[in-house]
Symmetry: C2
């Protein structure tokens, strides 16, 4: 099944809004074995929309469209689609009922001026959007499917997961497909390839292995097709068991969507342990990444972002003479930061970082990009010095991952 994505909206073409819908949809379709041939962003003009529809209808089996469904006059998709599929419009009571429920939930008054929004193309299957006011529309013609969804990401995601994918799976005979994704950290593609050659070389033709690099590591994804899901699952489980010992401590966990910081949080949760951080150059980013995910309070106690030396000395108990003698970016100082933090907080582990994020502040012996990291428990502290390049943002992100990985390798494995 070949798919085209059409992203409608002038705000995309002037760069005001970053389109994130297409990569989200692409990931989802890819996992179901649907191949995306093209993603096209076009303006809110009827001619542009119709031209894109014609090309897509000729070349694809499935056309997913986002954007242009709101109540304002710019949002033309519904009317253009009705014309394109030669459909009448009619008042759609269920869409009105959806508005009634939504407005009640948000305590907002609903008046008859919202009725025109409830006129929908009669040839479309209307997909109820529980997350917003504009429903999705599913058109079929000559075996080709066009689905229009709102551009608001969580509304689109709700419709894809609850309305579109189930219909595609039951109605379109997608061939069975199964995946296992192994999240690895701290290792590049080339090295990984050497480590797992013995398994990769003997893979049967119906099972593919993909290397999916991300910042800090590579996901390995096994994908099987052409047999039943049960058989594929068994085969993939067996291959995964063979891969894991070869990956050593680079292997973090299974999971296609899980981020590295979530994986580390899960390891803490599984052990019933808690973490705190003392951050200088990362400025609170470690703490932010951990607390971005629900349930963080179970495993995270807090952080002291000691951007000034004053906080390092007064709150964390770093010795001023250590800062003078070895510098604030030194393994001695981060070790004191981590241990000092454990003196004022009931966490099991403390991470401390100090480095030179740049662009200025470097010296010949301590250049921009240098960072010292410590991880401490009540009876042990490990330290490490590393260098991370390029931009300030990347430095902060890589330092964060490296610090979490030091925690993982020192205290959370086995």
């Amino acid at each position: 099944m070949k798919a085209y994505l059409i992203i409608i909206g002038d705000e995309i073409l002037i760069g005001q809004v970053q389109d994130t819908n297409s990569s989200w949809i692409a990931r989802l379709l890819n996992l179901s074995g649907i191949e995306i041939k093209q993603v096209k962003a076009i303006s809110d003009e009827p001619e542009a929309i119709v031209a894109a529809f014609k090309v897509a209808e000729a070349e694809a089996d499935l056309v997913l469209i986002t954007g242009g469904l709101g109540p304002t006059k710019d949002d033309l998709t519904k009317h253009v689609m009705a014309q394109y599929f030669e459909s009448d419009m009619a008042y759609h009571e269920e869409t009105w009922q959806n508005l009634v429920e939504l407005f009640a939930r948000f305590n907002r008054p609903l008046t008859d001026k919202y009725k025109p929004q409830c006129f929908m193309p009669t040839k479309a299957t209307i997909l109820r959007n529980k997350m917003g006011t504009a429903p999705g529309m599913w058109f079929e013609r000559n075996g080709k499917v066009f689905v229009s969804m709102p551009g608001v990401p969580y509304e689109m995601q709700y419709l894809m997961e609850n309305e579109v994918m189930p219909r595609l799976k039951t109605g379109f005979n997608l061939s069975p497909i199964a995946h296992r994704t192994l999240l690895n950290f701290g290792i590049g593609e080339t090295q990984l390839q050497e480590m797992i050659a013995e398994v990769e070389d003997k893979l049967p033709a119906h099972i593919k292995l993909a290397y999916l690099p991300y910042q800090g590591g590579v996901r390995l994804r096994l994908t099987g097709r052409g047999k039943t899901e049960e058989i594929l699952s068994e085969e993939l489980d067996k291959l995964s068991e063979e891969l894991i010992p070869l990956l050593g401590d680079s292997f973090v966990c299974f999971g296609n969507q899980i981020s590295f910081e979530e994986a580390v949080s899960n390891l803490l949760r599984a052990k019933g342990k808690t973490l705190a951080t003392a951050e200088s150059c990362t400025g609170g980013f470690i703490s932010h990444l951990i607390t971005l995910h629900p349930g963080a309070s179970e495993i995270f106690q807090g952080s002291v972002v000691s951007y000034s030396n004053e906080l390092k000395i007064n709150v964390l108990g770093v010795k001023p003479e250590s800062i003078e003698q070895e510098g604030v970016v030194s393994e001695t100082v981060v070790a004191q930061m981590a241990q000092g933090l454990l003196n004022i907080i009931q966490a099991d582990y403390a991470i401390a970082v100090s480095g030179i994020a740049g662009p200025s502040g470097g010296t010949p012996t301590k250049p921009v990009g240098m960072v010292c990291v410590a991880v401490a428990s009540r009876d042990k502290v490990v330290t490490k010095t590393m260098h991370f390049g390029r931009s300030r943002e990347q430095f902060i992100r890589f330092t964060t991952y490296a610090a979490l990985n030091l925690l993982r390798k020192t205290f959370l494995l086995d």
Copy 2:
């Protein structure tokens, strides 16, 4: 001048990589008055690339292409372009010299196996890429321009700013254009429109006003064309001076790219003041946003992320009975957090936040999304209770902006 963007790469079509190049390029072209008609992401296949080129050549004046220029076999763009423009390939000494300099800078050995990369299409103007190994290529045919650039964002950005835009500006008679962008915070489009109606209604035809919403506010952009840049500049300055009083304290600063947190940092810097934060529900995100930008150490002292009550009590000096009586999410507690922070750190201002980020943890009187914010100086503290909806991530972001805005309005205006 009409432009098409073509993004080449299978990694985009399977959703593994989020394309950020197209929105960056779109913003840049838009500021120069070049209209983007379409953005198309296609796979690394010669047929797909040629098909996209044909459509673009027929419909656009300028075709910008990113991706598919690296040394690996997937990267076909160079060869497809040479064929498409019926060009021979020849060894290009300057491209080799660029490799020599790059490899010397990174202390890596350069061998002859890199020579094949230095064969370039003879019909192209080769654009030197000081940030990476693959140069850009500029083709012209019948007044239409095709430019190919690497997909790595900072390499593409370097080429756009240093090679592509200067050539477009000198060679293509772009009509003069001038902009003034006014960053506003805490106000929606509708309200803004009412506030500035008297200026908007009398705008001359050659000056347009665009509303560019972002999370938390709206940028207003005045764009003038059709006169010399000097005259346009004068006119836009005069209009800006008329707009600012109408915008009241919603107006933050001028700037097309500046973020709200940078604007607040600049206000602190201009006054020679410093900030510290005591964060509960935002988990360090305020601190992260401020320290993401170079020079943060001039205006930022640090943060205590008191995710646990223990840190609130032991480090910030919050009274346990206040937490018991009024709850940890209360104006009393955030006021104590902010004032307590100023007792342990030499900052001029402290921001404190405590709230319920969700998805769980809400109660009927203190629902998910409720947050209390305090901003304190040495002799004053203000507090505010707000509600921010939808997702955990949005709650954290909106709370951060609201807290910085409370600081701005209370202490940094005038």
